[in-house]
C-alpha cells in the first residue's frame, strides 16, 4: 500500500480562477480574469489570496483553465502571500488527463469534483469555495465562526445590491435568522437584493456528497449557483446567509473595470485600499525604485505606485508600476497599466492603456472635446504611432 501523507487542516480554500471574463474584451485576450491588473500594483486574484492568508487560511487550491500562463507565473510558489509551505500552501490545480479520459473543467462544481483528491489530502472539516474574480477585502474567519456556530451545511456570503442590478446576481431570500429560504440564479424579477458574493463555506461532508451526486446527474450543468445550491436548498440542508458590508466588486466589462479603478480616487475613496486598520493586500512585486516625479510635472487626485516616471500631467488617474508619463503629456480620467509608456506631448483622456503599450509623441487617445463620452481601450503591447488619434473604441479596444 502506498502511504500518502495527509496533513489535517480544519479548513482549506478552493479558489476558482479559470474565468475567461469574455465581456472584458481586449483586456482578457491573453490572460485569465483573475490575473487582470487592478489598483496600480495588484492583480484581481491578490484580493482573494490576501483575504485567505489574512483570515488564517494557509491551504489554497487554485483552479485554473483559461489562459493560465500569466496566472501560473504570477502565483508561482505562493511566496508573496506566505503560501510557500511544506504543509499546505498554494497549489495550482489545472484540468488533467485521467483514466476516464481527457476533459476540461465543465463547470464550477465539476472543477471541484475533479479535485476531490486534493481536498481529501487535508481532511478538512470545512471547505471554502471562492472566486478569483472579485475585488474586496473580507475577513473570512468571522464567517467561518458563524458557519460553525450555526452548524450549517453551507454558509453563503451575501451583499446588498441595488434592485436594478439584482438580476445580474444569484439572489437569496432569507428568514429572520438568516437561513436561506430561496435562491434564484440571475432572476428576471428579483425578490430580494441580497446577492451571492461567490464566497461559500461548506461542511466538507455535505460538499462532497452533493458534488458527487451532481456529477452523476446528466441533466446538471455542474455549476454551484445553478445546480448545487438549489439542490441543497430543496433537500432541506441548513444554509445560512452571511451578510457582508463593505466594498465588493465584480468587474465584468471594461467600463466597470475602469470605474472600479476610479473608485480608488478622492479624499474618501469608495474602496479604501489605503486603510492602515486592515491587513495589507499582498502581491507579487519586485522592489521597484520609488516614483520619479519630474520638475514640471503636475499630479492631482491620482493613485500612483513605485517604478513610475511622471514628467507630465496626471489627473484623476490610476498609474500602474513601471509606467512612464513623458514631458508635456497629459493623462486624465484614465487607467495606465503596467510599464505602459505615454510619449512626449501625448494626450490620454477617459481611456485604459494596456500593459507594455507605447503611445507615440503627441498622439491623442480617447475623448476629445465635443465627442461622446465613450471609453477608449488600448490593449496590451500595442504601439500607437506619433501624432495618431484613437478614440471611442468601446470595450473591444484595439
Amino acid at each position: 500500500m502506498i502511504h500518502i501523507k495527509t496533513f489535517k487542516k480544519s479548513i482549506i480554500a478552493m479558489l476558482l480562477a479559470g474565468g475567461q471574463g469574455s465581456r472584458l474584451g481586449e483586456l482578457t485576450q491573453n490572460t485569465a480574469k483573475p490575473a487582470l491588473p487592478f489598483g496600480a500594483k495588484y492583480r484581481i486574484i491578490d484580493f482573494t489570496l490576501s483575504n485567505c492568508v489574512n483570515s488564517g487560511i494557509d491551504t489554497v487550491g487554485v483552479l485554473t483553465q483559461y489562459q493560465p500562463l500569466e496566472l501560473n507565473e504570477y502565483i508561482g510558489n505562493g511566496q508573496p502571500w506566505d503560501l510557500d509551505r511544506y504543509r499546505g500552501g498554494v497549489t495550482i490545480l489545472p484540468p488533467y488527463q485521467s483514466g476516464k479520459g481527457i476533459e476540461w473543467y465543465t463547470g464550477t462544481a465539476n472543477a471541484i469534483y475533479k479535485n476531490i483528491n486534493f481536498i481529501n489530502r487535508y481532511s478538512p472539516d470545512n471547505v471554502m469555495i471562492l472566486s478569483g474574480d472579485h475585488i474586496y477585502r473580507m475577513d473570512y474567519s468571522e464567517m467561518i465562526t458563524r458557519h460553525k456556530e450555526q452548524n450549517a451545511d453551507c454558509t453563503i456570503a451575501v451583499i446588498d445590491v441595488p434592485l436594478s442590478e439584482a438580476s445580474r446576481f444569484g439572489i437569496m431570500s432569507v428568514n429572520e435568522s438568516d437561513e436561506i429560504t430561496e435562491f434564484a440564479e440571475k432572476p428576471k424579477e428579483p425578490k430580494s437584493t441580497l446577492a451571492s458574493m461567490g464566497v461559500y463555506v461548506f461542511r466538507t461532508e455535505a460538499l462532497l456528497r452533493y458534488i458527487v451526486s451532481d456529477e452523476n446527474d446528466p441533466e446538471s450543468s455542474k455549476d454551484f449557483g445553478k445546480n448545487i445550491i438549489p439542490k441543497m436548498l430543496s433537500d432541506g440542508c441548513k444554509m445560512i446567509a452571511y451578510k457582508f458590508e463593505g466594498y465588493w466588486k465584480d468587474v465584468g466589462t471594461p467600463e466597470s473595470f475602469w470605474s472600479a479603478n476610479m473608485e480608488l480616487l478622492g479624499e474618501d475613496p469608495d474602496f479604501d485600499l489605503f486603510s492602515l486598520d486592515m491587513p495589507k493586500i499582498l502581491s507579487r512585486n519586485e522592489a521597484l525604485p520609488p516614483q520619479v516625479i519630474g520638475k514640471d510635472s503636475s499630479i492631482r487626485n491620482s493613485v500612483i505606485t513605485e517604478g513610475c516616471h511622471i514628467y507630465g500631467q496626471v489627473e484623476n488617474s490610476v498609474i500602474f508600476s513601471g509606467a512612464t508619463v513623458s514631458e508635456n503629456a497629459c493623462v486624465r480620467d484614465s487607467v495606465i497599466l503596467f510599464n505602459a509608456f505615454i510619449g512626449d506631448g501625448a494626450i490620454v483622456t477617459n481611456a485604459i492603456v494596456g500593459s507594455d503599450s507605447v503611445i507615440g509623441k503627441k498622439a491623442q487617445i480617447g475623448r476629445q472635446a465635443g465627442i461622446a463620452n465613450e471609453l477608449t481601450v488600448i490593449g496590451d503591447r500595442k504601439i500607437i504611432k506619433d501624432n495618431f488619434t484613437v478614440t471611442g473604441t468601446g470595450g473591444n479596444g484595439i
Binding site: S283, N285, A287, Q291, V292, G294, T305, E306, V318
Partner: protein, 375 residues
C-alpha cells in the same frame, strides 16, 4: 560568477553618522525612498552571481535583521548558500570601553571559524557606507589574473576627503596607504572592497592574530607586504562611489539622486542590475486634488495633499494640505500636519510634526529630527 562568497560589514562606520545609527547599523540606514544602505553591496553581489553571503554586525542589529529577514527578497533564502547573519562579535577582543567598537580585522578574527567553513574559493569583502551598483565579477577576475594575494578596490568616492588614498606601483600593486589630508579629489580612494582566496584570508587573519595586530589595512596588509612579501593588487572601479561619511554627506547623497537624473538612472535603473530591497506591500501612493509635487522621489503608501519639491519621501508618509516640503528627506511613517513648512530637513522614522510648524534648515546645515519625535 560561481565560486565566490561575500562578506558584508554592516556597522564598521556607525560612528560617522551617529545621528542615524543610534538604533540601527550603518547597513540599516534608509536611503533613496525605500532602500537601506546594505541593499547596495548586497544587490551588487547578487547581481554579480554571488549567492553565498555573510553579514557581520556588532550591535544595534535589530532593524538590519528585520530588513534582511530570510533573504528571500534578494533570492537568498537558500539551502545551499544564501544569506547568513553572523552573530555579533562584541566582547571577544574588547578589553575596555574604548575598544568596544572593534575593527575590521577583529571582526574577521571573531568569524574566522565561519570563514573556514566557506566552500567557495574566493571571498569578496564589502562595507555599507557607500552607495553603488556595480559588477563585482571584474574585480574577482582581475584578482585571479594578477596573481595578487589580496586585491583592493580603488576609485573615486564623493567622500574622498575623509578617507585613505592608495599608492600603487606601475603594475597596480600597492606601495602604501595614506590618510587623505587635503587632497579632496583623488581617484585612488580605498573603497574597502577586498578580494582574496579563502585560504589566504584565513592565513592572513591567523598571522595577524599571532602578531597581535589590530588594523586590517595598516598592519595586516602593509606589514604583510613588507614582512611576507604579500602582493597587494588593486582594481580600479570606473564609477564614482557615493560616500556617506557624515550626516551632511548623507543629505548631499540624497539630494544628488534627486537632482542628477543620470546618477539616479545609473544606480537604480540599470537593466538586469536592479537594486533589491525588502518588499513592503504598501498600498500605492495617493495624491489629492490639492497636491503639487515636483522633482522628487516618492515611495508607496503615502498620502500627499501638500507641496513637495526636491525631496525624498519614504513609505507611509502623510503630507497634509497646505504644507510644504522642500529639499528634505522624510523617513517612513512621518506625519506632517496642515500648513507646516519644512525646508532642508531630515526626519527619522515615525516623526509627527503638527500644524503650522516651520522647520527651516539650510542645505549646508540640514535639520535632523530624531526617530519618534513629536513637534
Amino acid at each position: 560568477m560561481t565560486g565566490v562568497s561575500g562578506i558584508i560589514f554592516s556597522n564598521l562606520h556607525d560612528r560617522n553618522i551617529h545621528e542615524l545609527t543610534k538604533k540601527r547599523t550603518t547597513g540599516a540606514i534608509p536611503f533613496g525612498g525605500r532602500y537601506r544602505l546594505i541593499d547596495f553591496p548586497l544587490s551588487s553581489m547578487v547581481n554579480s552571481g554571488i549567492d553565498d553571503i555573510y553579514v557581520i554586525s556588532h550591535h544595534n542589529y535589530n532593524s538590519l535583521v528585520e530588513h534582511i529577514g530570510s533573504g528571500k527578497d534578494w533570492d537568498l533564502a537558500r539551502h545551499n548558500g544564501g544569506i547568513k547573519m553572523l552573530s555579533p562579535y562584541i566582547t571577544a577582543y574588547a578589553t575596555s570601553d574604548s575598544e568596544q567598537y572593534v575593527s575590521r580585522l577583529e571582526s574577521l578574527k571573531s568569524i574566522s571559524y565561519s570563514i573556514s567553513k566557506i566552500k567557495n574559493e574566493y571571498i569578496v569583502l564589502c562595507d555599507c557606507n557607500r552607495i553603488f551598483s556595480t559588477d563585482l565579477t571584474d574585480i574577482v577576475r582581475s584578482h585571479i589574473k594578477s596573481g595578487a594575494d589580496i586585491t583592493l578596490g580603488i576609485g573615486r568616492a564623493t567622500d574622498s576627503a575623509d578617507n585613505s588614498i592608495v599608492e600603487t606601483d606601475e603594475f597596480g600593486f600597492i606601495t602604501g596607504i595614506a590618510k587623505n589630508v587635503g587632497k579632496t579629489d583623488s581617484d585612488s580612494v580605498n573603497l574597502n572592497i577586498y578580494v582574496a582566496t579563502r585560504e589566504h584570508l584565513i592565513s592572513m587573519i591567523n598571522d595577524a592574530m599571532m602578531r597581535g595586530y589590530s588594523s586590517f589595512s595598516h598592519e595586516m596588509l602593509l606589514r604583510g607586504r613588507t614582512e611576507h612579501k604579500d602582493k597587494i593588487g588593486t582594481y580600479r572601479f570606473a564609477e564614482t562611489f557615493i560616500g556617506v561619511s557624515s550626516l551632511i554627506d548623507y543629505y548631499n547623497a540624497g539630494m544628488a539622486i534627486v537632482e542628477d537624473k543620470d546618477l539616479y538612472f545609473s544606480l537604480f535603473e540599470r537593466s538586469n542590475f536592479s537594486v533589491m530591497t525588502k518588499v513592503t506591500n504598501s498600498a500605492p501612493t495617493r495624491y489629492t486634488k490639492t497636491a503639487s509635487v515636483h522633482n522628487s522621489l516618492i515611495a508607496d503608501g503615502c498620502y500627499i495633499a501638500g507641496n513637495v519639491e526636491n525631496s525624498i519621501i519614504f513609505p507611509g508618509v502623510h503630507i497634509a494640505s497646505g504644507s510644504s516640503v522642500k529639499n528634505s528627506i522624510i523617513f517612513s511613517d512621518t506625519y506632517i500636519g496642515c500648513n507646516t513648512c519644512l525646508s532642508s530637513v531630515i526626519t527619522d522614522k515615525n516623526v509627527m510634526i503638527g500644524e503650522n510648524v516651520s522647520l527651516l534648515g539650510i542645505p549646508t546645515l540640514p535639520i535632523m529630527v530624531e526617530e519618534g519625535r513629536k513637534l
